[in-house]
Amino acid sequence: MTDDTRATRGRLTRRQVLGGAIATAGAAAGGILLGTPEARGAAAAAAGDLRVALPAEIVSLDPMGASAAEESVRVVAAHIFDSLVVRNTRTREFLPALATKWTTPDPNTWEFTIRSGVKFHDGTPLTARDVKVSLDRMIGQPGPLAPLWTAVAGTDAPSDTTVRVRTKTPLGTMLSNLSLTSILPADKMNAAGFFNQPIGSGPFRVSSYRPQGDLALAANTSYWGPAPGVKTLTFRDIPEVASRVTALITGEIDLTYALPPDQVASLQSNNAIRIQSTPSYRYYFIWMNIKHEPFTDVRVRQAMTYAVDVPTILNTLLKGSAQRMTAPIPSTVFGYAPQRLYTYDPGKAKQLLTEAGHPNGFDATMIWNPDSGPQDREIAQALFSYWNAVGARIKDGQAERGQWLTKLLALDWDMDFQTNIVTTGDADFVLRRLYTTSANRMGYSSPVVDHVLDLAAQSANQETRKVYYGQVCEIIWDDAVGLYPFELTATYVSRKAVQGFVPTPSSPVFTAVTVQR
């Protein structure tokens, strides 16, 4: 925007302000005076009330439903329900939650000891049967997380405190999968309308909820674990970023996250706001369709990688909100192994293209859908111009999300640009789900990758799995299946009244947070 147009808009604003003031006065003269001054929300809210605006609407409270993989559903599920184990995102270790201990008597059997004395919000005790029935529902439901469970043969609950999970082949990701599985009350979870006001055993109980609207939670005073730090936890639904930032500044909400970099920058000078960042599970990548010419040739794919100046894009477009990626998976994820970086070298890119038989470059199209990540439009434009400079004339195949998804899954594209989240925090979720021959998501097929990924999935030894995933990272990186430019930072902005919040790579937890007003 030039200064000229900005000035014009400024004048328009004042005119509209005047119009607004007149309109307001005309219609609702007395009413406004009666209106509650909620703009001064910080003073009005009771101490011990935490109000959070999630980046996306809460579509449903069913932690196993069609929206189970959505970030906002995961966040609220972690507060209403418990899982058998929880992951410490710092150490990547699994800690006991509803399961106090677990053993693997043989590679295909897992036995969990269920914590006794745990009660659901309605006072009924939580037993091994609830765990078994919840696991069965998770495994049987055709939801987005169901593919994690295909190796399971069956579950049983031999006693009130023991649950056994049997698998067809060893399941190395058992604990990571279980950390995403909420335990529901067996006798109630299938009742109609249960998920409008679900009952769990978690640190908060549901007070009120409207799909796509606000969700009010109240502390579970008889929680088995450490007591929640606030009396009430409210998730406010504010879709528009400018409104969300304003609500934070005026104290209508206490915390939000996943703001665009320019909005975070505008908050930096605000003394009432704290900004906390941590590397996230989310990353940008560009796939090349390995079954489409000219990407069948590894030299072309490597040329595309050498052609892009990643550090410059990072510093100009994503300053402070991302860092350079050093593997096909983010550094936060279990199984990550750093790789040798492709340095920006347009000469080498041109040379590789010539060697591959494209001295005059080639034409292709890249699909992407807007709003898939911060600055995506700008990044896409930068990519096009870098590639164009070495002769790769890539057309902009921007499409609306539904259309993009249909094309993506049908492999009806040359290149694809998007973000992805490693929901489980485990390399298996990305590597085995996307890069095997049978997954067929970008036409890549490597018998070695397939084999090593199977070995990794079937190993219960975490150190061994790590070695396997490291090998796969290296093969995919050297084969240049895609460009892996940036891993995004999770940036949380909160009012200084919020104490004790620890930023996490994804799915923030507010149980230990206190609010000092």
Binding site: Q16, G26, T246
Partner: protein
């Protein structure tokens, strides 16, 4: 009169059927598959197929259409694909919020637009006239998503007079209602002004002045009633613009209304919710148009319905 209303309502059934058919086809013609959207990029082909079956989307299109019309007759459009509640309930829950917003904007628009138009017409080509005309043109032209954000920045962030988002007390209603009303204010002001200026040339206005009536009385009793019919017509027609505006305003101000629900439903190919929302919008159009027609008979003694 009663016969006329009954006949109009009978025709409405055909209008509804037409709208239902168009939306049925439209949601299926746009690219994108609901099952795919629900499962996201992680869904396997088998899961997508299973989900399509559960949603009844694998049935032949003719069968789907018959099921859909049969359901519509019972006001049953099935479960929302995404929200895990009946689609009718999902829309119903949010209609009051949209109704409140649209009605407030409508009321605001009329109570401000009408007097402003009169003010401008009182002295054509005066400073007041130019000011009102330019302001109303701006009101009509400024995109409401931008205006909404500006209002938030000024009244919520800088001045802190009003809350920025959500529903609650009257204070929450002010910004979204004013944003939505400004378009209507612009349209009405210009319409009333030009109508009054035109009518002022008529013989009956001259006669009214000739018989010694004061200016206020001439405008109130003779000029304004003759301008009202086109005004009422436009107010009725503006309902469409109001609902379209509500979609945007509800998103900007986090107003939990049916407009936002509709947009999210379209984005996620939630067919049942889209269908219900369009049905409700059609019904509101039919009713408003009927009301507008009825008002003609009241406003203009020459109009008679048989």
């Amino acid at each position: 009169m009663a016969g006329h209303i009954a006949r109009r309502l009978l025709y409405s059934i055909f209008v509804l059927w037409g709208a239902l058919t168009i939306v049925f086809v439209a949601v299926r013609v746009i690219p994108g598959d609901p099952a795919q959207m629900m499962l996201g990029s992680s869904g396997t082909q088998a899961d997508v197929a299973a989900l399509r079956h559960r949603l009844g989307l694998d049935a032949p299109i003719g069968i789907q259409y018959v099921r859909y019309l049969a359901g519509a007759a019972r006001l049953d459009f099935g479960q929302s694909l995404r929200l895990e509640e009946p689609a009718v309930q999902a829309v119903n829950e949010r209609l009051p919020a949209t109704g409140l917003l649209a009605a407030s904007a409508m009321a605001l628009g009329v109570t401000v637009g009408l007097p402003l138009g009169v003010l401008a017409a009182l002295r054509p080509r005066s400073a007041a006239d130019y000011l009102v005309s330019v302001a109303s043109l701006a009101g009509q032209s400024v995109p409401n998503f931008w205006l909404g954000i500006m209002f938030i920045l000024i009244f919520a962030r800088e001045l802190r007079w009003l809350p920025s988002a959500g529903i609650g007390g009257l204070s929450h209603l002010v910004l979204p209602a004013v944003t939505l009303a400004l378009l209507l204010v612009g349209v009405l002001t210009r319409l009333v002004r030009s109508g009054l200026v035109e009518v002022a040339q008529e013989d009956y206005i001259r006669s009214a002045y000739a018989k010694g009536l004061a200016r206020v009385a001439v405008i109130r009793k003779h000029a304004l009633p003759n301008v009202l019919i086109p005004v009422i017509t436009v107010v009725g027609l503006q309902l469409g613009n109001l609902l379209a505006g509500a979609v945007i305003v509800e998103t900007v101000f986090a107003w939990p209304g049916a407009g936002r629900l509709l947009i999210e439903a379209i984005n996620n190919r939630d067919y049942p919710v889209v269908q219900v929302a369009v049905l409700f919008i059609t019904i509101s159009f039919i009713l408003v148009n009927l009301l507008v027609d009825m008002s003609y008979a009241y406003l203009d003694p020459r109009v008679r319905y048989q």
